[in-house]
Structures are given as C-alpha cells and as structure tokens.
Subunit: 172 residues, 2 copies
DNA sequence: GTAAACATGTAACAGGTTACATGATTGT
DNA sequence: ACAATCATGTAACCTGTTACATGTTTAC
C-alpha cells in the first residue's frame, strides 16, 4: 500500500492536485515509485473518503486541490516509524543471469557486456540530472539528493559487477 | 511474465515437479524472483497447455514431473536474447527517504542507522550462505555464485550509502 | 480556430498474495 | 497411530497497467 503513503508524503510538502502529483511522480519519484495517472486519481479519491486528505480548493477545469489532514500526517508518520519497509527483491536482470547457460558463450558475454554498457549510460543520465537539478526547492531537495546519490552508487556497482561477471563467465 | 520464464529456466537444468520447483524458488531464487505455491502450480498448467512443457512422468501422491519441450527451450532462448529485461524500480526503502522531513532529526537518523545495520546483517547472512554453498552442482552453480556476488556488493553499497546519508542529514 | 496543456474519471485485464481445501506416503 | 512431508488445486482479493472516455482553458 505504498502508493497511499507516497501520495501522503508528497502532500506533506504542499497541497496539490492529481495532475500536479502525476507530474511529481513522473519526475522526482519516477525511479523510486512510479505510478500511473489512473492509479493516482483512484487512490486520491479513496484517501479523501478515508479522511486522510481533504479537498482544500476547487479551481477551473474541475481541478481539485488536496491537502493532508491531521489524520493523514499521523498515518504518514506511523508508516515511517512503526512499519518495516519491505525490500522488493524481484530482479529480471538477475533472473536472466541464472539461465545464461542455455546460451552460447558469445551470447552470455554479450548479455553481461550490454548490462555494463547500460549501467554506464544510466550513470551518465543520472549525473546529468544531478547537475541540472535546482538544489534549493522545498523539503524534498535534501532527500532528492540523497536518493540520487543512491542511484549513482547503484548503477556504478552494477556496472562493476557486470564487468567482473563477464570475466568469470569467460573462464567457465 | 517472468514467472513463466523462471519456470522454463529451472526446467532447462532438469525435469521437476511443482513441488520441486517450489523449493527451488524458496532457496535459489528466493532473493531474485520469489513465487508462491499457488502461482507455480497455476502457471505450470498453463505452460503445459501452451506446449512449452510436457508431463514427462507421473509418480506417487499425484506427483507430475514436467520437462521442457523443444518449443519451451526456444521460448526461453528467445526471452533471453530477443527481449529486454525491465528493471523493476520500486523501492519502498528509498521512497521513505523522500519523506523523512516529517520526522524529528533523531527519528531520521534512526531510520538511516537502522538501514545500515540491516544491510550489515544481510551481508553476514549472504556471506554465510556463500560459505555453506556446494559450488559444484549443476548448471546453476556458476550463475548462482555470480548472483550471490551481486547481493554481497549490493548490500555493501547500501550500507555505505546509508552511513553517508546519515551524515548528510545530520548536517541539514 | 485549433493545438497543446490542463484535468479527471472508469473499465478490462494481468500478475501476485493469502487462504482454503484435499489427500497420499514415509518415518518413528 | 500419528506427525511430518509430499503433492496438487482453487477462490477471493489486492495492486498495477493499458486503454478508453470526456471536457476545459490557454496560447498562438
């Protein structure tokens, strides 16, 4: 049920509409907790029904601005402090590694080389994002920086691992 | 649809029953692509219907042993070489980082310290698994080793990052 | 006027989880 | 005899994705 909490979290910074939130998901949370337009609108309605959000303003074009209620903030805090994050484990990339033996040595090597290359590209993309960020807007800034650093370290680790694995498999 | 391919992959090594596969998921693939008993049995039936598997043997207690068909092997190879793995991005751990600002400095610090501690424990657990493994059984051995190395590097990276992040947040 | 952006909502489907339900065989 | 393990199957529910559907406002 983390989508709920992602919405509560974003609204803890400032009130926003479904449309605003959609864009926040597509930018700041895209690589952490993606969500679709459909999901966001459905969940906002439920959250308001449950009293965790309130419609604080209605604008033109049917725009509804949601605000976090006291109950919503309490729920957000409860989630952060009293529940354990479950680490999602599923990795299709790693799953494939298990079955590389059905391929030729060249194909195996190709898979890992490609993985290293992709990781290197992702590093560059994150690096560019890092450099282009305006590191001074709202509460999400410090945390955004920390999350980006995680991404940079992660793709670096994966590139190095893929390079190492390509060597290992070459010997086999 | 990776569960399909995980099953095909495991059966590329040797024929097995649903029950056998369930245990393979709970051991070798537990940290890569978990699956429930319910899911496995349902999918095996579908795969046999689709001709990618065949029931190669029926044993006592209703045991059905499945084998990969030529078509199944072709599908596995196709998946490995012609389709792109989609990297699952969702990370509840990272999502929480974004919203730490609603907590007190002590609570924030506690979250990251705990994350570092958990990562260190996971390192030890993987290390023990690594040391206890019999590195000489079947085709999955080399790949299993490579996957474990990934796990070791990943939790190390996460511990170091959490330690670094705790410092960053302390300054803010 | 018309295209782009704003803005919301719903329906069908796919994948995964939990729980229920049943029965056979082996080891002590 | 009894418990543990082997062995399979189904139903209800939850989450997430894709596609459909509609209408308004702004900028050129």
């Amino acid at each position: 049920m983390s989508l709920r909490h992602a919405l509560l979290g974003l609204l803890s910074d400032r009130p926003a509409s479904g449309y605003d939130l959609l864009k926040l998901f597509d930018t700041s949370l895209a690589n952490v907790w993606p969500a679709t337009q459909s999901q966001i609108y459905t969940e906002l309605t439920k959250l308001a029904d449950d009293g965790l959000l309130s419609v604080s303003n209605e604008g033109s074009r049917g725009r509804k601005e949601y605000s976090l209620t006291d109950e919503g903030l309490a729920e957000l805090r409860h989630w952060l402090t009293e529940t354990k994050p479950k680490q999602s484990v599923r990795s299709e990339i790693l799953l494939r590694v298990f079955f590389l033996s059905v391929l030729t040595p060249e194909q195996r090597r190709g898979y890992l080389d490609n993985l290293a290359a992709i990781s290197a590209e992702q590093y560059d993309a994150l690096r560019r994002l890092y450099d282009s960020m305006d590191w001074d807007e709202g509460n999400l800034s410090v945390q955004g920086k920390i999350a980006l650093e995680y991404g940079l370290r992660f793709v670096t680790m994966r590139r190095e691992w893929a390079e190492w694995a390509a060597e290992q498999i070459n010997q086999g």
